[in-house]
């Protein structure tokens, strides 16, 4: 083909020197020139940018951050929840993964079956005394960093059944976010997960009192 055989016409051209509307228009990716602003050729060629304008030009196009924030952003936007449902709350967890309240649009649809591959455990349902050591073992098998959401009233605070058979989840493992409800709506579960996402991204005091400057309105003990 290079010598012109097989009835293919070969036209040799020099890159970077072609102008006009037909033929191959190749941009010479010269970073130095791009940073200076504008096109390399053509009518839009501005004057070279300097100082303030250059800083602004760069800031509009390049994002800088610390490595910690970048890692936190990545971690928070890709939780791998453990596919773990105990009781009724698991049904609402399914609905949260379902088509209407789609958990996948936030990036959390990869429910892993193995605790070694998961970093978020959503305790969906009531924790009985027989199940508590097993959940602790699962939580121990998860790799750092890991978070836990206690979904529903039963595992957060014994719920409807305050009796001999149940254990509150905080007794044997640390919980980051409690989602109240019996069972909580998928929207409520999403709210809890997004709060956890904020927690991981910013580590703020996400309470409404700080946000709305209402400090001093706490209930008196």
């Amino acid at each position: 083909m290079a010598t012109g055989g097989t009835r293919v016409e070969v036209k040799r051209e020099r890159l970077g020197t072609v102008g006009g509307t037909d033929g191959l228009r190749v941009k010479n990716l010269n970073a130095h020139q791009l940073l200076r602003g504008g096109d390399i050729e053509g009518p839009n060629q501005p004057a070279h940018l300097d100082g303030e304008e250059l800083t602004r030009y760069v800031e509009e196009r390049v994002l800088t951050t610390t490595l910690d924030s970048a890692v936190a952003w990545a971690r928070s936007n890709s939780f791998f929840p453990l596919a773990f449902g105990l009781a009724c709350c698991a049904m609402e967890q399914f609905q949260a993964a379902g088509p209407r309240m789609d958990i996948a649009r936030f990036g959390f649809e990869a429910f892993r079956a193995s605790p070694r591959q998961a970093d978020l455990i959503i305790l969906a349902g009531r924790v009985s005394i027989k199940m508590a050591p097993i959940i602790r073992r699962l939580y121990d098998q998860m790799l750092e960093p890991k978070w836990a959401i206690s979904m529903g009233a039963c595992c957060s605070s014994m719920g409807v059944f305050n009796n001999y058979a149940l254990v509150p989840a905080d007794k044997f493992m640390p919980i980051d976010v409690h989602v109240p409800g019996c069972p909580p709506r998928p929207e409520a579960l999403m709210h809890g997960i997004l709060k956890l996402r904020d927690l991981v991204q910013n580590d703020p005091e996400a309470g409404w009192r700080e946000r709305y400057d209402a400090v001093g309105t706490e209930e008196r003990p």
């Binding site: 605070s157 014994m158 149940l166 509150p168 905080d170 919980i175």
Partner: protein
């Protein structure tokens, strides 16, 4: 549900194994001597009640004999139900197991044992089924406390521990 007279006739047929009959809200119950439960159920199976729907326990505290086991039978051809009841005192809570003839009673008798402490003689594998196997106590007896635990949230732990000390 055989009507009240049908129930009396049935009790007469069962002979001295049947201690009492109760016909309440269109439901027929025969109370039976605990030692003869297996032959009574076989007899009833011969009469058409060939489906054992449920085996469950009751605690009649404070009446004696305290622990009861209730067997629900169905006659599928005539669509009839019959309840057979057995009562045992707390110090000798032993009943013959009906599992060899009625395999459905396997898990259900284990549950009665777990929750009430009724020991079923002849059961192939009498262990606790709902509570952990080394749990002590029989939860659904009336004098067992309901229980419950105080809840401390993770973020409050430090404050709660300070408060304790």
């Amino acid at each position: 549900m055989p009507d009240a007279t049908g129930l009396e006739l049935l009790a007469k047929d069962l002979g001295d194994a049947a201690l009492r009959t109760v016909y309440f809200r269109e439901q027929a119950t025969v109370e039976v001597d605990p030692g003869r439960i297996r032959e009574v159920l076989s007899d009833l199976r011969g009469r058409g009640f060939n489906f054992l729907a449920s085996v469950h326990g009751v605690d009649h505290y404070p009446e004696e004999p305290r622990l009861g086991v209730v067997y629900e039978l169905i006659d599928m051809r005539k669509v009839d139900r019959l309840t057979v009841k057995v009562r045992v005192p707390l110090d000798t809570p032993e009943v013959d197991s009906v599992t060899p003839e009625w395999p459905t009673a396997d898990h259900q008798e284990r549950e009665v044992y777990d929750m009430f402490g009724v020991v079923f003689n002849g059961h192939p594998d009498l262990r606790r089924i709902l509570m952990p196997e080394d749990y002590e106590g029989h939860p659904q007896r009336r004098d067992f406390p309901v229980g419950g635990e105080p809840v401390i949230f993770t973020r409050d732990e430090s404050k709660w521990l300070e408060h304790r000390e």
